[in-house]
Symmetry: C2
Subunit: 404 residues, 2 copies
């Protein structure tokens, strides 16, 4: 981790305050489910949502945060009305979300989806908080920028994505300064890290078969219940390409130390190869409640409302080396990572557009990667110094990808 | 771990002194192979051996310990002669082994096989050393006694056995006092621990088929190259029964938190189920150099001369819940553990005799467990207060098992 170490874990007896950015999405709802299961351990400082004012108000009535913020300013009146008679302060608009993100709290869960999560997460980082990061764009599109700010403000980043959370569990940052002993098995002992991929619905397809697959075939993910866009990313393996980029910014690793392994059961989430031949792995049944509970409780652990893994029942774990000839998204993402600058941002934007065009049946499945390649070729590689640079690059790349 | 925590890891720049008890056995030789691969990191304080005076002298000439000790006193003259012209002091006899075990050194590798390892290991523990434990009898036959002494003298025990070393890697003891932060995921977050078993050559046999198996069939172990006695233990699954007992004394777990899972490939050595649904696992190709290197370097890690695991090449990991009807050794060992007192000592002694009788074709394969049961029934359950109590109990149990 590139984050400053915390000297003391929160004693279990003391309540941990949580700011939840993106309370009404899947990660947000699961976060509240876990918090509800541990009364007395957490208190909510603030909840924010984009448009879902009814659910936000309902959550605020249940958890009684200091503040509830709806990003869409036109919903301010409705939120205020729904919270009448409670102690919860209602607020609205993007600036109010940033203010909530900067409120003093022990942990900020950053679960806003997409580019909208960039500025609030940066605000949380700049307040020096411990940030549980569920937003992908922060590291894929603005990894260098975020990393710099994390160092500068002494923030701690705990990844919530199952693969990165797994790596964090296996090689966590020091919770005490290294000179006081620290813990065993730091990053200097890590040879390489492997994240797993289900392989998606076309794992065994030839390129020829992939040429004619339909959006309906692509969105059938074997293990996780996900949205259409992420399902297509899982079918192209671009989801793993993006996760390689995230891992690069989260952990002190070189691109060549990052690997992907196909593992259709999605039980093993990540593996860490140590220099002594030991491989440490984290497993669980596919349920986001485990990494969320881990991130909320770290450096402690708490019970999560999940079904427990029993390998005797499962019987079999399969692994295969990914075939980059059939899944070129992996190589393209790795190249973008090595190229650096705006390349990962362009890759992500072009992929979003290409996937949407595939979902609208405008292009074929194999064209997704071609559009990304053409967009990368058509944009100069420049450094992105601010979030506004990132957003401008994202916009430009989307326009090119639409026309490619 | 029931051991006192160390506040400071050894800085890599400073040489770590190693006392190696049992230098000429497999573990001893592998230990020296690893030490030879890291010149400048280790220095040998003492080497001891039982009877293999030629190899001991050769090792002493290569590694130049302060002292080389041969347990067999009749070989003193020969050792002295072989070490002429070196700085190495020659010594012989059981007391000289105990003296070597008590010498000040950073780590004592306890690799003497069998009951002969009990007193030297206890001597090392009483010197407050960090003890890398490869001897099984210390914990199986004298677990309660050893644990008491470890606490009393502030020693640290690092298990070398691949399963227990795996658990130690996944939930290591604190290297800094808990009040200074410690590390994440301590034992309070552990729900259960599972060690794996290859299942041995009769994994798929019915009881009827097992009735007539020969010693030759029993000693063919699929993954590890082991001696005849241990191979039979692997065929009955008594090796895992004994390891459950070891795990109980090594880690703060109740018997019902300890599980065994059949895993024919012997790649995953142990799994730790956390309360949040995470399962942490340690894997490696079956090579004792990995746990030895881990134990020698802990809390650091060093390169080990081993082939690295590639799950993409292996393709498949199988797991099955063990069938205690076909492998009753597991239940008997668990009962002995719960019964406590001298029961684990009796179990171990009776098993050794029964296995030897099977290897001499005196009894059938299924009689091994029956003899152990009868021996347990025929001995009173008493507490063992000293190593001499342990040795006397071991002797008495062997006599009964011979006649059962």
């Amino acid at each position: 981790m590139k984050a400053k170490s915390r000297v003391l874990p929160i004693p279990a007896a003391q309540k941990k305050s949580v700011t939840l950015l993106g309370a009404t999405g899947t990660i947000g709802q699961n976060t509240l489910k876990i918090i509800a299961a541990h009364p007395g351990r957490f208190e909510i400082a603030a909840l924010t949502a984009g448009d879902n004012v009814e659910l936000l108000a309902q959550q605020a009535r249940q958890f009684l945060p200091k503040k509830a913020v709806i990003a869409n300013p036109s919903l301010y009146g409705e939120l205020k009305e729904l919270l009448k008679g409670t102690s919860v302060e209602a607020a609205a608009g993007d600036d109010a979300v940033l203010e909530a993100a900067s409120m003093p709290s022990d942990i900020v869960m950053s679960a806003i989806v997409g580019a909208a999560g960039l500025k609030p997460t940066l605000a949380a980082i700049r307040s020096g908080a411990t940030v549980a990061l569920a937003n992908k764009e922060c590291l894929v599109c603005a990894g260098a920028l975020m990393t710099k700010e994390i160092k500068k403000y002494g923030a701690t980043l705990i990844p919530v994505d199952s693969e990165h959370n797994a790596i964090f569990q296996l090689v966590p940052p020091l919770t005490s300064p290294p000179q006081a002993g620290g813990k065993e098995g730091g990053w200097e002992h890590v040879e390489s890290v492997t994240i797993t991929a289900s392989g998606g619905p076309f794992r065994e397809y030839t390129l020829e078969q992939m040429r004619t697959v339909t959006p309906q075939q692509a969105v059938k993910h074997p293990n996780w219940n996900m949205g259409a866009k992420i399902s297509v990313d899982s079918a192209t393996l671009m989801n793993k390409g993006l996760e390689l980029i995230e891992a690069f910014y989260l952990f002190p690793l070189k691109p060549e130390q990052l690997n992907v392994l196909i593992h259709p059961q999605s039980i093993v989430h990540a593996l860490v190869q140590m220099i002594d031949g030991s491989v440490l792995a984290q497993m669980s049944l596919p349920d986001m409640c485990t990494p969320i509970a881990h991130a909320l409780a770290w450096p402690e652990r708490i019970e999560a409302p999940v079904k427990k893994l029993n390998l005797g029942d499962i019987g079999n774990l399969q692994f295969e080396t990914p075939d980059t000839a059939r899944f070129p998204a992996l190589s393209i993402a790795r190249e973008a990572l090595i190229r650096g600058g705006n390349a990962p941002t362009v890759l992500n934007a072009a992929n979003e557009i290409a996937v949407h065009r595939f979902l609208k049946s405008e292009i074929g499945f194999l064209d997704i990667v071609k559009i990304i390649e053409r967009t990368l070729e058509n944009m100069d590689n420049v450094r992105l110094e601010t979030i506004d640079d990132v957003l401008a690059c994202d916009k430009a790349a989307r326009r090119i990808a639409e026309e490619s």
